[in-house]
């Protein structure tokens, strides 16, 4: 229905054909994505379903969407084309840090069924100005093929959220486009476009309860991420362990020239930067000789991205001012890891677990990354009866350290074959307790 109106508009107004053709082409490249994914949280293997949007951006059927729409938990991705035909797709890769994911349409199916699709073109998000008209296209609340209009409200919004993408970290390495074009649940992953139909952002989030405060990932960020995901299926970033803070009005105190340096608010314990001798309160002046300016919050993501873009294992030279003295610290980068590890459910025990990662261990002052975090128990099942609960960290099972998910999976498999009491050692806050899982 909507497509009919749009099409007839194009016919009725030939004077605006240039803009309308671009927009219509874009409109035909926007898809609805139905996702069925695994949910591990309740100590049982369950499935959940959700709807999002996406945009086809290449001739060979690559689709750009949000990481919070399509993640590795998805077991079924179904794409509805502009023709309202449904085609299956697979996940090429995702990147929760920028909330982006790339899907591949099943081209064999497309060919077999003789379907057609068009693709959208990327615009230049760096050239956007505040007040510029933009459109959000997508599937809000399942209302397929909805276009809303607004303006760019801010073209460099800083917005970091440590649990923003289904519990994963996001927003540390990019700024966001803010728009008042209505963005509702289901718009996620759909394109934000200019009047000529060029994609300049991927609609990602809005403030619930607010009026028209929507956010999109700029396409300048998306281009880089797409390239990496298509090439490697993943984005590898570097980590050194410094938490930045805008210098804002600290310049006088640190005796700095205006627009120079970034404040180091915290250095993660045991991180490469900590090992190199950096401390909270230091001022980072340059990265490999390139001067940094972290005066305002929105300047922090590009600096963080600069560090993240270094090769893993590379030595980076940080010029740091502490008190009156300035020194260069060589820091060897590590691979950036999420706080959220791989998840699994041990069904017979009614126990959902998530691997403890190095980052999680660091955040929670654990000795090392041994163990799995309990993320759910099913009432009445052995784990619940034994007294385990959400937030416990299982460190040993039958006196064997839980170095990986495989350790606990193997013991669960043995239990399935021959149910016998299992001794579990778990830590809650700083307290260690023992539990017995009984058949």
């Amino acid at each position: 229905m909507l497509r009919f109106i749009a099409a007839s508009l194009a016919l009725a107004a030939p004077a605006r054909a240039a803009m309308s053709r671009g927009f219509n082409e874009l409109f035909d490249a926007v898809v609805r994505i139905d996702v069925r994914e695994r949910a591990f949280e309740d100590g049982a293997r369950r499935l959940s379903a959700s709807i999002g949007s996406g945009v086809i951006f290449s001739k060979d059927g690559l689709i750009l969407t949000n990481a919070h729409v399509a993640s590795p938990r998805a077991i079924e991705l179904s794409v509805t084309l502009a023709s309202l035909e449904r085609v299956s797709a697979r996940l090429v890769g995702w990147d929760h840090w920028t909330d982006l994911a790339v899907l591949q349409l099943d081209l064999a199916e497309v060919k077999r069924r003789g379907l057609k699709f068009t693709h959208a073109d990327f615009g230049d998000s760096d050239k956007l100005y505040v007040g510029q008209t933009v459109y959000a296209v997508g599937t809000p609340f399942g209302l397929t093929r909805t276009a809303t209009r607004g303006i760019i409200s801010n073209n460099r919004r800083y917005f970091e959220d440590s649990r923003g993408v289904n519990g994963y970290e996001t927003g540390a390495f990019n700024t966001w486009l803010q728009t008042d074009a209505a963005i509702n649940p289901g718009n996620s992953g759909g394109p934000l476009v200019t009047e000529d139909g060029k994609v300049i952002g991927i609609s990602s989030r809005g403030y619930l309860g607010a009026n028209n405060l929507g956010f999109a990932i700029p396409v300048s960020t998306a281009r880089r991420v797409v390239e990496g995901l298509v090439r490697d299926g993943t984005i590898t970033r570097s980590y050194i362990g410094i938490v930045p803070k805008a210098l804002q009005d600290f310049e006088n105190f640190y005796a700095l020239a205006l627009n120079t340096g970034m404040l180091v608010d915290n250095v993660d314990r045991g991180s490469p930067a900590a090992r190199a001798g950096l401390r909270g309160g230091d001022i980072l002046l340059a990265i490999d000789g390139v001067k940094v300016d972290g005066r305002f919050p929105e300047q922090l993501p590009p600096i963080q991205n600069m560090i993240a873009s270094l090769p893993v294992g590379a030595t980076v030279k940080l010029t740091v001012k502490r008190g009156a003295s300035t020194a260069v610290y060589p820091v060897v980068t590590e691979k950036l890891e999420s706080r959220v590890g791989e998840e699994w459910v041990l069904e017979k025990w009614g126990l959902s677990v998530r691997k403890v990662t190095r980052t999680y261990a660091r955040d929670n002052q654990l000795d090392d990354a041994t163990g799995v975090l309990v993320i759910g128990v099913q009432p009445g099942f052995p784990a619940d009866v034994a007294g385990l609960s959400r937030g416990d960290i299982i460190t040993k099972i039958n006196r064997q350290p839980v170095a990986s998910l495989a350790t606990i999976q193997a013991i669960h498999a043995a239990y399935l074959a021959k149910p016998q009491p299992v001794l579990v050692e778990a830590q809650r806050n700083r307290e260690v307790s023992l539990y017995v899982l009984k058949p």
Binding site: D265, N266, D268, R279, G280, G387, R399, Q427, V432, L434
Partner: protein, 461 residues
């Protein structure tokens, strides 16, 4: 069978015969109880607290329940102790003697003038102390509020249940005495001391939840639970020699967790309990003796840890075993490590300097009290004890400059204006300078919170 019936009959008649004595018993025993008032001085206020106490000797020594004093306060903040006799508006001064680590009691001593009017509870102790029987009638004294001159009133109940928590504790059908006040049997014998703030369950139909849910309401002025006389009388001599209650026996095994019965069975420990050690503290006697995190403590000096209900009571049992000993004594632990049993003799130490003993200083213009960094801070922050410097924000005045800058209570202040704080005195000197400098517009703090640091800018103008 006949004998039993006779005994039951005697028990039933006994109290009825003596019931007539109650007014006389009351008139004497009310002289064993007092109300104690004191002031707690903090940086910004001075607040009165009233508690109830029981007289324990002819020197006017009085014990108050553990909760009579907020454990965050240091003894130097407690001022102007006063004693009121029941029904009297006249106070006499008293001094605070300190808290005993084993019983948790606070000790105060009344001025000479009032001592002749007080009767120690020991006078009413039975010749041979026995436990009250279930269903036995018991009574005690409650005290009204200060505006009613702490008028004494009678509370009567029956023993419903006796448990080891690990102290032998009776739970009565309803409130039987003011917390910290004695409980008597119908013969007027002292049979226990009312525990503080024991919860009473009521079904409350809340507005939030239409089906209603039971909530625990605590009547802070009356208690229905009392520790039996056998848990009280032997410890009356534990009058602290100083306000901090030192010496304090120290083991240094922390995060003790009980074994539940299933785990005990799995480990072939059917008729006893065990306690898992979560952490062994740096430099502690436990560490020196070779104790390791995750060791399971099974016995003390050869005696297996008893099975107590609920499971976690055994932790209290173990902690009391440490507290009743003195530094320098050897405590031999039988330990299960993996699948091997070990004997670990631990020479108990003296507790490192406590937070309540730490130096403190208030800076009014900044709105901050700093406290010396002590051993317990290093443990809480999981940092090495020796290498740690800085001070702790003990109090941050609401809406003061430090609070506006984002400083919070218990933050660890590591640097001021980029200068590392080596000692409490150095921090105090630095803050004194800042306060004295009327021209000073701002300064910068580096603080630790959890395992992160933050740079805070404190604006003075």
């Amino acid at each position: 069978m006949n004998k039993l019936r006779l005994l039951a009959l005697l028990l039933a008649i006994g109290p009825a015969v003596r019931a007539a004595d109650l007014p006389a018993l009351w008139a004497e025993r009310v002289k064993s109880v007092v109300a104690v008032e004191y002031y707690t001085e903090t940086e910004t206020e001075r607040r009165p607290t009233v508690s109830y106490g029981t007289v324990i000797d002819r020197e006017g020594t009085i014990i108050l329940p553990p909760v009579a004093v907020n454990s965050r306060m240091t003894p130097t903040q407690l001022k102007d102790f006063k004693i009121y006799r029941p029904g009297s508006a006249v106070s006499v001064p008293a001094v605070y003697l300190g808290q005993d680590a084993l019983t948790g009691w606070h000790f105060v001593r009344a001025a000479e003038a009032v001592r002749a009017d007080l009767i120690p509870i020991t006078v009413y102790a039975a010749k041979s102390v026995t436990e009250p029987a279930l269903a036995e009638e018991v009574w005690g004294i409650g005290l009204r509020n200060r505006d009613e001159d702490f008028a004494p009133y009678l509370l009567v109940s029956r023993v419903a249940l006796i448990q080891s928590l690990p102290q032998r504790t009776a739970i009565a059908l309803q409130e039987v005495a003011g917390p910290g006040l004695p409980v008597f049997n119908r013969a007027g014998e002292f049979i226990g001391l009312a525990a503080s703030s024991f919860g009473q369950s009521f079904v409350q139909f809340t507005r939030m939840d239409r089906s209603g849910s039971p909530v625990i309401l605590v009547n802070v002025e009356e208690s229905s639970a009392f520790q039996l006389a056998a848990e009280v009388l032997p410890h009356l001599g534990r009058v602290p020699g100083n306000v901090f209650g030192r010496p304090l026996a120290w083991l240094g095994a922390s995060g003790l967790q009980p074994l539940d019965p299933d785990v005990a069975k799995f480990l072939h420990l059917e008729n006893q309990s065990g306690v898992v050690v979560s952490e062994v503290l740096e430099g502690s006697p436990a560490e020196k003796a070779g104790m390791k995190a995750r060791d399971i403590l099974l016995a003390i000096d050869g005696a297996p840890l008893p099975r107590l209900k609920p499971d976690h009571v055994v932790v209290g049992y173990l902690e009391r075993e440490v507290a009743r000993r003195v530094p320098g004594r050897t405590m031999a632990f039988t330990v299960l490590r993996g699948e091997t049993r070990l004997e670990l003799p631990v020479v108990l130490g003296d507790e490192p300097r406590l937070m309540s003993e730490a130096d403190r200083k208030y800076f009014d213009r900044i709105g901050l009290t700093t406290r010396e960094f002590v051993y317990g801070d290093a443990v809480a922050l999981r940092v090495k004890t020796g290498s740690s410097t800085g001070v702790i924000a003990h109090f941050v005045k609401p809406n003061g400059p430090a609070a506006i800058a984002g400083l919070r209570t218990d933050d660890w202040i590591k640097e001021i204006d980029g200068v590392e704080l080596k000692t409490f005195a150095a921090a105090a000197q630095k803050l004194d300078e800042i306060e004295a400098d009327a021209q000073r517009a701002e300064f910068v703090l580096l603080v630790g919170r959890g395992n992160e640091t933050a740079v805070l800018r404190v604006k003075l103008k």
